[in-house]
Every structure is written in structure tokens, then in C-alpha cells.
Symmetry: C2
Subunit: 229 residues, 2 copies
DNA sequence: CGACTAATTATTGTCAACAATTTGCAATCG
DNA sequence: CGATTGCAAATTGTTGACAATAATTAGTCG
């Protein structure tokens, strides 16, 4: 639906100012890999690219620095952040704790319609698995976890969770996120949704935490495979 | 030791640039209450105050916006963020989960020396309680939780935790944080340190989470008291 | 006298130019 | 021939000025 998209961009332009727009744009550039990991990002280049001056670019870069997508060295520039396995491990440690909270809250608060939404996404992921469409599966996987954290009904939790997982997205560019075997991953999703549908808060929390732990383990296996080759 | 202080300031000026310096300065202004809650912060005013132009000020404000200490309205300016009880509740929800993780990790990883450090701070808090020095107690309380999250040995967790609790500090300005009865609070601290010393990860996690929950309850009581009067 | 409108002022948003710093290259010296 | 020093280009850090928007005040009309 192009109207909705146009509406949101309009809203963005009206409410947010240039730096905010530029920020999400640079974010996309990084997450799509157009700005390579570790690469220096040139302020002037971005400025000409977006047709602005360097001021808004710098403001946007400060925000991205705060969200740890880039790091900045004085007088040398900002670089797309390279995330180590050790740091990914740290993130997963926190994520597991948050996922447990999310599972519990969603089981307590989700409406029947929201539960159906979750089940629908899981079904779509099954279909994507059948067609071996890994790209589609990945997008749906993101959507699933986005829905979950939203349905937890805690804006600050959402914000914290998104900030953390954004760092993990950098890992996807190295092909280390959810490496291989995504059919297994979806069975975990199903178990989570079942627990939520049964209003089993403790169980949903435990299962979602477990899912995060399994995801972490998959990352480790993928990392071990790539480094050993 | 002035030399050490001079060294750190030198490092600060060398490594960080003006916006970073300005950022912590404005942060202090907010946290000390010199910039009142809800008040609009004037860019030009800050610029003349710090002897810079508005550019660095704006960059600093974007960072503070990202850390939710200020909010920004287009063409109207940035305002010191006013935090509602509902939002504080959201933060506490996340904080409880993180505190559990922190307690567990510290119990697993803390060195004997670190455990002594924690016990020492608790003893100091006891002393402050005896002298009814609430300001000192509050500072020590912050230090205690800072040490804890540091000793958990997870940089990303530290970052996430600090970001969250920074929002709670805004509440202190309204006198709603740990309102009254801080002797009780310290007995909770003692229990946590005991569990850590006993290397009881699960117990320390449970106790630290409980401590956060109690802190939240104290906030609610303080809020109820001020609004009812 | 109150309410609406228009000008004025203050403040933010953006820009282009200047200063300071780093980096790459070349020339020089041991 | 390698290392080092000095120069030149590129890039970041910072600034002051200009444009656009919101807040305020004065003035006018009903």
C-alpha cells in the first residue's frame, strides 16, 4: 500500500527533521551492507549523496554512535562498527534475560488476535522453509520477534531490545546469524506461541530465553565453521 | 590527587571532542536540576555558556535525546524529559530482569577482592544511615549498583543498565526515588552481598531482582504520599 | 473591553566557509 | 637502501551567517 508509505514519510518529514531522516537512511546503508564493516564513512560524501550539508550528517552520526552502529575516532572519522563474537556473546547474555521477560509478559497480556498474528507469522515461516526461501524466512523471523516485543506492552523494553538486537544485525552481514538449520528455529517459535496461547507466562519466558540461547549456539557453530575453513 | 584529575581531563580533551564534553556537562546540568524538568533548553544560551558555537551543542543534544534525557520537538526545541510513573514502571520492569542477571553473573565471576569492595560500600552505607546522611547514602547506593554491574563483566550489560537507570535518576529530582526508609534498603544490599560471597548465583540474582522490586514499591509509596497531600 | 490579526522578536534548522588535524607522498639524510 | 622529516591533499572540527518557523506583542476592529 503506497498510500500508507507516503503517509509515514510525510509524517517523518513533518515531525522529524533532516538529521532523523538521514539517520535512518545511513542505518539502512549499514544494515544493507552498502557501507562495509569497519569502513570509514565520509561526511562530505554522505552530504552530497543526501543533498544536505555536513551539519545534519554529523548529528545523525552521533545518534548512530550512541546506538553503537558506528564508532568515532577524534579527527579521524567514524567507522562502521565491527562486532566481535565476544561482544555478540555479551549482547546475547542480555538478550536472553530480556527475552524471558518478553515471553512472560506477552503470555500475560496478549489479546487473542495478537496470538493469532504470531501463529500466522510462524505459519508463514513454515511456508518459507518449505520453499527454502531463507531471505523471506529471515525477514519473517525479524517480524516475529518485533511483534513479540511489541505485544509485551512495554515501550522502554521495546526500545532496549531493539537497540540490542540492532547490534546483532551487524552480524548477519557476516553470515553468522542463525547460520543453517532454520527449520529447527521455527519449531522453537511454535513452542513459544503455544505457551503464550496457553497463558503460561513462566513457560513462555523459559522457552523464549531458550530460543535466544539456541540462536546464540547457532551463531557459535557458524563462526566455528567459517573460521576453521 | 590533582595530577590524576588533570590527566583524565587531558585524556578527555584529547580523545573526545567538544560535543562529548558538552554532553556530559549538560547531563550534569540536568541531573543536578539546574535545568528543570520540562524546561526548554536554549541552544544559544548553552553555546555562550560553554564558549562554543551551536553546532557542538546540537550534536550533544542529539546524543542526550537518544539516551532519553531530553525530548525534541521540531522547530520548537529540546526539553528536559519529564518521566511519568508509568514510564518509571516500565523501566523498573526491565531493570528487574537485568538485576537478576547481574546478581547471578557477579556471584559467578567476582573476585574475593571485589566482594570485599561491595561489602565495604555496604558498611559505609550503614555508617551513613547512622548519621542520617541521606545524600551520602544515595551516592553510595549509586556506587554500589555501579560496582555490581561492572563486576558482572559484561560491557554491553553495563551500558544497557546505565542507560536505563539514568532515566530513573530524573525521578530523584522529584524526590520519588527510594523515598524514605533507606535502612531497609541496605539490609537488602547485605543479603545480596552475602549470596555473592557464598557464590550462590541463583540466590544473588533472585535477591537483587527483589531489591529492584522493593525499590520500585518504595517509589510507588512515595508517589502516593506526595500526590495525596 | 475582548478577540482577532499583523508585525516583531526570538529561536531553531541549515548551510558554506574557515581552522585544525591527519594521512599519504616525496625528498633528503644517514 | 631504509628511515625520517617536511610538504601537500584530504578530511574532520568548528564557526558565524542566513533562512524558516514558532512565540510574542502591539494594534485594530467589532
Amino acid at each position: 500500500m503506497p498510500q500508507a508509505a507516503a503517509l509515514t514519510t510525510l509524517q517523518l518529514v513533518q515531525s522529524n527533521s533532516l538529521p532523523a531522516l538521514v539517520q535512518v537512511e545511513i542505518e539502512q546503508l549499514i544494515l544493507r551492507g552498502e557501507l562495509a564493516i569497519g569502513q570509514r564513512v565520509n561526511e562530505s560524501e554522505l552530504a552530497t549523496r543526501f543533498g544536505t550539508s555536513r551539519g545534519p550528517i554529523r548529528e545523525a552520526l552521533r545518534v548512530l554512535e550512541e546506538s553503537r552502529l558506528v564508532r568515532s575516532e577524534k579527527n579521524r572519522g567514524v567507522f562502521v562498527r565491527e562486532i566481535s563474537i565476544a561482544e555478540a556473546d555479551e549482547i546475547y547474555d542480555v538478550r536472553e534475560a530480556l527475552d524471558q521477560l518478553i515471553g512472560q509478559r506477552v503470555a500475560e497480556r496478549a489479546t487473542p488476535e495478537q496470538v493469532r498474528d504470531l501463529a500466522a507469522v510462524v505459519a508463514e515461516m513454515d511456508a518459507a522453509t518449505g520453499m527454502h526461501d531463507i531471505k523471506c524466512y529471515h525477514a519473517l523471523n525479524l517480524k516475529f520477534h518485533d511483534l513479540l516485543v511489541d505485544f509485551a506492552g512495554n515501550a522502554r523494553l521495546t526500545e532496549t531490545y531493539r537497540l540490542l538486537t540492532k547490534g546483532l544485525l551487524l552480524f548477519r552481514l557476516r553470515g553468522l546469524q542463525d547460520g543453517g538449520g532454520f527449520a529447527v528455529s521455527n519449531s522453537e517459535h511454535k513452542a513459544v506461541v503455544d505457551a503464550i496461547a496457553a497463558r503460561d507466562g513462566a513457560g513462555a519466558g523459559r522457552l523464549l530465553r531458550l530460543h535466544a540461547a539456541e540462536s546464540r549456539a547457532r551463531m557459535h557453530r557458524a563462526a566455528a565453521a567459517t573460521t576453521s575453513i
